[in-house]
Amino acid sequence: MGINTKTALFLTGYKANLFESLQNSLVPRSKGFTPLQKQQSKDLVNRLLDDQSESSKRKLALFFILIDLLAVLTNGKTFIKLKDENKNALLQSLFDSPIGLFRKGFWGINTLARMGVYGQKELHAEIGYRLRSNNHE
């Protein structure tokens, strides 16, 4: 299935790099990705976002900005440049935030990060997911 090229891809440039950094913290399995797997991950996310409303994409883009803003405010650096423990602390604060909107924004990014990993059928053998043969007797 090809990517719909009618609309601009969401994960490109800096946003793609930030997403990869977030994904490495959220789903550590992604740290061992080959360049091809990294690209597949982004393709899966872009494909899904292609189906979503412009409003959803705008909210997601704002949340990316918020993450970097919080990183700068708390640690003086953008998220990508933080140490692993600081990244995890910031993500934990969003995950467990008393502000519902922050938790929901975190959920959105966490879900996309997981989709980029466990949505890759090449990883299914690794986790033991097997499709029963369609010729099963």
């Binding site: 959220l26 995950f95 519902g100 959920w107 997911y129």
Partner: protein, 498 residues
């Protein structure tokens, strides 16, 4: 594209049915014998016609193919996703075939004159038979389902097997991604082929924009918007609980009826998992066979066995980091259970349309629902440990993995304080209400025959008719109501036009 519509942009039928799921497919079949009397009937479907051989069973491509928003349609508060499908057969392409008759308690709560079990029972029985609903042979029930049953029985909970509507199923286990064998007896397999044989014309890739008088204004196969004007003596909306209210609102405004779009219920659901030492291999064989209604009366949730694919499963895990990877990598050892909350019908839970006319869903996961989820988490953890789980992961817990030695203090480990909206993946696939039946236009959208109040030619025949939730998986109830609506339409059109 259907050849019948390639040339004229103005089409004329006696009956136009919008949507082809449990409601539309049923209505099409039930009215199709009218074609022999000279009536022209069209069945309009937004999506394409799928063939079993085109089904690759791959999770994300199939989710994108079958579902609106790939199955991730979000409510406006962004704390719940809704799964509903497009394509000939609608959501009957992607359900697991779980077949329940509407319980008496739900009918009583509906409180609609003429809608009684005496009326609906024979209709439900008809579709039980037509769809091949049966109890799965014990030899075909997989370990995941066996664990559910064993866990409930050890605890002394009521557990029972539900029927599933398959024929010649070989247990591929990917029902929620469509059936690659055509074994699941949805409307695309059973009712629509019969309707087509009798003369009903199917028009796929048809997006209904609105209704103007007796005309359906539509876009077909990417044509210019509003290019097709399809007139009909009778129009029956079966586009589901989200899209039927949206079509009505686009046609007549959001205020044409005081309850249009309102009283939406959806059985908000969450998925929980347990790790077992033994292999479970829950994706092999029919995914769902058992349920427990132990907590329905008191705590208003239903438990069912279930199994989901890698990403659909992973997205339900609460938290992040190594624990998530750890649990997903135990996939063949996982037991899964789904808890469905039997939600109350409130006016504030509703469908509306945005400035572009697109449907949006406003739904409040209130305290009562959240409390039910917490109780469901505790009950499920008990069930899973009782079935022999080595560790359990459920929402509302104060740590990622609950161990067997914590089973005596689950009330402390799983609590309301820990259950936070936005942390837990809550999803719904049972969309009901929005065009509720009733006696008057003050408190309902249609009468008990699905006829829209104040519109002689316009009917609704889908899950949006439910005045409140069905308390069980709803497709059989939708078919029974659609059968009733078809009976009414038949009477009306025969008396008016013959």
């Amino acid at each position: 594209m259907n050849s019948a519509i390639s040339s004229p942009r103005e089409l004329s039928y006696d009956i136009v049915i919008v949507g082809s799921g449990a409601g539309g497919g049923t209505v099409a079949k039930e009215l199709s014998d009218l074609c022999a009397k000279g009536f022209k009937i069209a069945l309009l479907e937004l999506g394409p016609r799928f063939k079993p051989e085109d089904n690759t069973r791959e999770e994300l491509p199939m989710a994108r193919q079958y579902y609106f928003n790939s199955g991730g349609f979000q409510t406006t508060t962004q704390d719940m996703t809704l799964a509903f499908a497009k394509g000939l057969g609608g959501s009957t392409n992607v359900y697991t075939g779980v077949t329940f008759k509407l319980p008496e308690s739900a009918v009583k709560k509906w409180n609609v004159p003429d809608i009684t079990l005496e009326d609906l029972d024979p209709r439900m029985d008809k579709y039980l038979k037509e769809n091949g609903a049966h109890l799965e042979d014990e030899n075909n029930i997989n370990k995941n389902n066996q664990l559910f049953k064993a866990g409930c029985e050890k605890l002394g909970w009521h557990v029972d097997q539900f029927q599933i509507n398959t024929r010649n199923c070989i247990g591929l286990g990917t029902c929620n991604l469509g059936c690659a064998r055509g074994a699941k007896q949805g409307t695309a397999v059973v009712q629509i082929p019969q309707a087509e044989r009798n003369g009903v014309e199917v028009i796929t890739h048809c997006k209904v924009e609105r209704i103007e008088g007796n005309t359906v204004v539509a876009t077909v196969n990417g044509s210019s918007p509003d290019e097709y004007r399809i007139s009909a003596k009778k129009i029956i909306l079966c586009a589901g609980a989200i899209n039927t209210p949206a079509i009505l609102m686009r046609s007549f405004g959001e205020k044409f009826n005081p309850v249009i779009g309102r009283y939406l219920t959806c059985h908000p659901a969450m998925i929980m998992a347990a790790d077992h030492e033994v292999e479970v291999n829950g994706t092999e064989g029919p995914p769902k066979n058992y349920y427990s209604d132990q907590f329905v009366k008191k705590d208003r949730f239903l438990l069912e066995s279930c199994m989901y694919f890698p990403f659909s499963f992973a997205r339900n895990l609460i938290g992040f980091g190594a624990d998530v990877d750890d649990l997903v990598h135990r996939y063949p050892h996982l037991q899964m259970v789904i808890a469905l909350v039997l939600d109350e019908a409130y006016a504030h839970n509703r469908v509306s349309i945005n400035s572009k006319g697109e449907a949006q869903v406003h739904y409040k996961l209130d305290t009562k629902i959240q409390q039910a989820f917490v109780k469901a988490s505790r009950a499920t953890a008990r069930l899973m440990f009782s079935a022999g789980a080595s560790r359990v992961h459920v929402p509302g817990a104060n740590h990622f993995f609950i161990k067997p030695n914590e089973v005596t203090r689950l009330d402390e480990v799983i609590n309301e304080k820990q259950f936070k909206l936005g942390q837990t993946t809550i999803a719904s696939a049972h969309l009901m209400g929005g065009c509720r039946m009733g006696e008057s236009a003050d408190n309902s959208v249609t009468n008990s025959w699905g006829k829209v109040h104040g519109h002689k030619h316009l009917y609704v025949a889908d899950g949006s008719l439910f005045p409140s939730c069905s308390e069980v998986n709803p497709y059989l109830t939708i078919m029974a109501l659609a059968d009733r609506v078809a009976e009414g339409v038949r009477k009306d059109i025969l008396s008016e036009y013959l």
